[in-house]
Symmetry: D2
Subunit: 391 residues, 4 copies
């Protein structure tokens, strides 16, 4: 079997998740090529070497440009901070590497647009690119999409998409790079709100055309981070300024697909006490509804208004059947999967597209669109929540 | 409209519930006659008078025999302790009064058999009788019965019926009359297990034919009750012996109806910490399943194995639609009912039967059968859980 | 015991609910006076007479002004359409009758302001008034309020209050008076959104100070109603214009109480397929959270961030304990109540206030404030969702 | 880092799960040695070679005895059918290999006893053995155990442990080797009931001392399996006899630990329509309760009766915090794990024990005990459910 040589840029949370996916996907999905975990790249030599060992890569490097220049490398998987995406992705595409880039595509619309331009040009040369909205690969989301696209809930009138976390609820929790606009681009909005946007559009096939948004920073100053652990960390005695949104709310008008004329209400927050990873999506249609909660990601609730009167109710589908997307390749019915599996699905789909010579989804164009929605929300918020068109 | 004059015997928890039902049922259901809350009967004069005022009866009496002798009385509603049921019910039936008798029908099979004999004889004279298994009147139970009887879950193979309460979980909780065998007949088994038995048979149309049972008393001595409140009360310094079962478990074989050849597993306990009124019923059939929990009594879960593969799941039906039993007469869809409504449904059905000249259900014969099951469980438990036929 | 003579204006859904409450409250709560269901008033003689019999009132009348002139009447309970509230309430207060008025207080801010003025003047003469936001009387809401006011969830940062119904999801469902702006004043916003506003403010003690709102009418033309049943009805062949909002969304800034500086997100819709009476409230605070859903109204979810790390979780409290508001007067622990009980609680509180000589809550002033919020939402929606202060 | 060379016997469902664990555990947990996936063993050469490639082992072999003779092999991981466990495990232990053996330890008490004898003897020579009750490694189960052992639910009085599956609910589903007593040893009882037994004892530290059991085979004849897929498969036209139990129920008395004097009720079935992998455990104690459902394996419900009156409720703990067993090594809070992670935990614990020179848990002695319980249930069932002591 041919090899597909992969370079991973970054070794944080996403680097760990992608590593596990590159190692696991070929064991559970029949891929046309055998991915090779060739090189992991980071800025700090010793930390990158430690990550190499822990994550199981062959080689560690600190110079991403040198890696891009290596003709043996087929794929560049970008898991570094958003501010670095554009430079690396564009260079990789120009070097003829297929690119898998974590979301958000970039920290600005401008960068995302340049990346998209590069991706479109590269595609003409058979070089593929994909942005990593991994939640599209939740089997329950795939099932929701099939049901909605098949008309099972009729015309969608309303979408409710909330991404609720609570790791900032304690006002004494420390600063992290995610609270610094210069590094993170935005706060809840871009970090988690982006997922909500992408999923609603992905499931329904509709696009947001205009938004009315509001942003809020509840706690403007926090202790500086002494040492990072997971998403939060321990506090030091100095204090820093929070320069991103703590919470974002927006309404959007949708056009096209199964949700033409619908209104979507969105919330992204890190202050929803008790909600740890509460990405909830509810779509209300003329013939039914679906509801999903990432905290119970192996389940989908489906309300079928075509069921006999008196028998209608939200059914809790345990999405572990061989009929469900990706699930036939894992375990028998009733045996659940976890968060990391989404990345194995992503790798599988990416590799399939690369080896079949088709463009994978979501494309950079889709990533750019999400970026434009985020930007419109910020502009609306700055303009007193005025309705703002998505370009 | 003609009057139907009612005498209520007893003024405890059940007396209060029945009073509310006699007052309410005619306001929500079109009855052929107008029930009249004529007289309430208790042993203690002042307490009965207080109950009369509180519950809204015209007259209070302490001599139930005198009340039975009153030709103006049409119905005798028996809510006194189980040990008094037989004497009063038989006398009432012989006096030509229609009788509604709370469950359990009696404290012994012998008494229940005599009552049933009297009821059968009375029925020939047009005098009606009914035992008060009020949970049959939960709309969700009615819906479950319709679905099961219509074959929507196929052949029932297994029933799981648990009645979980926790008011004895604290070993320092005081004695009440319910823990004294001479007054209560049995413990969890008869008090709450009886409901589980009746519901499984009612929904499926099957009958238990043999059982294997176990009883347990976890705490054999408790502080005596100083003053009763609700189901428990406050403790005094003296201690009394618990002479009934704290918990009962039994398996039963079912014959007939939709559950021919099925096995039912039953539990009744007052030690299920955190479960307040957790009567849960699950029926597993060859084509589907239903699940119910009394703590969420306006809901029924229905699993339809005939739904398309990949779409099957337990649906949560909010049982508040006009299609659902009794519900068209209450509030609009989505507006729930509570515990006491079951008694209004019971009164409605009882009055309908009396005025239509048909025998209401559940009959004393059915009450006797439940008594026989309880008795067989006790005998099995005394015999090392040996399988014991129901006569 | 002294009598309190009541006149009920209106005999629709709310008339039925209030009737049941006037009949029931005195049986379960020790009131200082005995309410007397003296007269029911409607425009149509025969229908009012039928309601009189069904609901159990002594007398039926068609002339409300004559009823107000009757010195024997102590209380006027207004359940007629919103457009009639102002005239009747003001006349009743001037006639010295205590007034219980259903929500919304009026169909316009102007009327509500006049009513409030009349109420404030009447209060000085010992004449009481109250607006019927019955959901304040859900025991779980009372428990939520206690917890929040006691600081158990810390400083509230976010409120999420959605009122989800689905009776318009089918675009072929017929017109009702509730879809006609001239009769109903507004659509989802006033009908059900008003409850969401009142509850968030009631629980937290905060007030909305400004809002950004959006309204939408998804289906602008519907078959005319042939005959009304419940909230919907059967369709005729002619079609009518829907002139109210089908759905409303708004954000609001809160000041004062436990939610000073918080942001609330609100939605009211009749298109949330599968949600029948889904009034959900979630409050996220710095030390915990509460969540409530009216479809499971005997439950409250409480997240205590002060619990030990690793043990925190949303606890499902079954709100049926004697410690919970109103519940000691109903049934033992674990025995649930239903929708109609809220009105018994309302009558109890209203009568207690009247007999104690204090002003009941919520006052007309509070009802006027809710009206002002609704009005600001409408103005904001008409102004491109611009943030609009509440006067 | 030193290598630990592993041989895997078997390449079915369990072989796949163990392979993924050997590959994954060292990437997420700091192990003292580096496991090496050296050789996979199966009876059929080509199928074993295919498994080798798919599961990622270095070498494929068909002669397990030759593999045991290879001095380079350190660990033998037995995932072959239960009937082969004894021979392989005893030989491996005698050859000085550490053994990880899937449950059930054997198909008979006799074999299990011999294996245990061999394990005890091997332990004296520093050779370790462990039986694979993987559900002990669910973080929520670990949390439950900590809470129970710390006395947080007081004295446990009742255990309810049900393992509900539904893959036989359809009577036309085909035979598999799991329905053949000569291959599988028993049916639901040993396959899934064994887990329920082990978990109740593991969490509470108590042991079952006697049981009263019942077995049932609902469908005695089924179409023969044409081709196996997952747990079921497609049917052929011939029919075979089902020679194992479809469902098993038993009560057991517990002694010791936190559940001294408690009664446990157990059910294992493949006919619980709609329940896919419904292993539910509820423990009711004098001061609280815990409840768990494998279908939502990242959650634990905990009821703390020491919480203030009126605030008690089953809390849903999302078991994804760094404080929870194993979770600090996976993903940030709120990011769930799946079924296969349990095997990574198992490998981690096994390797830790081997490298630390301590005996891992659960030991063969514990596996033998479970086997004795299963045997006692079968003997009780054959003896009319008579209470049968566990030797």
């Amino acid at each position: 079997k041919e090899r597909l040589s992969v370079a991973l840029i970054g070794h944080g949370f996403m680097g760990a998740a992608h590593s596990q996916a590159w190692r696991t996907a070929p064991r559970f999905f029949p891929l046309a090529v055998e991915p090779e975990m060739s090189v992991i790249v980071g800025r700090d030599g010793p930390r990158t070497e430690a990550a190499r060992e822990r994550f199981g890569w062959k080689r560690a490097e600190t110079d991403w440009q040198a890696v891009l220049a290596d003709p043996a490398i087929d794929v560049v998987d970008i898991c570094s901070p958003g501010s670095s995406h554009a430079e690396i992705a564009i260079a990789a595409l120009e070097a003829g590497k297929h690119v898998l880039c974590e979301k958000p595509l970039a920290n600005s619309v401008e960068e995302a647009a340049e990346m998209t331009e590069a991706a479109v040009a590269a595609a003409k040369r058979g070089v593929r690119s994909m942005v990593g909205f991994s939640y599209r690969r939740v089997p329950a989301i795939g099932l929701a999409r099939s049901l909605v696209r098949a008309g099972r809930i009729g015309q969608v009138r309303q979408a409710r998409a909330l991404y609720l976390q609570d790791w900032l609820a304690d006002e004494n929790g420390p600063m992290t790079w995610r609270l610094d606009r210069s590094l993170a681009g935005s706060g809840s909005l871009g970090d988690i709100g982006a997922h909500a946007i992408d999923l609603v559009e992905h499931i329904t096939g509709a696009s947001l055309t205009s938004v009315s948004g509001t942003l809020e920073t509840f706690v403007r100053e926090r202790p500086l981070l002494a040492d990072g652990v997971g998403l939060s960390g321990t506090a030091s005695s100095e204090r820093g300024q929070v320069t991103v949104d703590d919470a974002a709310w927006f309404l959007g008008r949708l056009a096209g697909g199964a949700a033409d004329g619908a209104v979507g209400s969105f919330e992204a927050t890190r202050y929803a006490t008790g909600r740890k990873n509460g990405l909830t999506i509810e779509l209300s249609g003329s013939r039914g509804a679906i509801a999903f909660n990432l905290e119970s990601m192996n389940e989908l609730a489906f309300y079928d208004a075509a069921a006999p009167a008196g028998e209608q109710g939200f059914g809790r589908i345990l999405v572990t059947e061989p009929e469900h997307p990706y699930m036939a390749n894992w375990w028998p019915t009733g045996h659940t999967i976890g968060y990391e599996h989404l990345f194995s699905h992503e790798v599988k789909d990416f590799v399939d597209a690369v080896t079949s010579g088709v463009d994978p989804e979501p494309s950079f164009t889709e990533g750019l669109h999400v970026q434009r929605v985020l930007d419109a929300v910020e502009r609306s918020a700055a303009d007193g929540s005025a309705w703002t068109p998505i370009p």
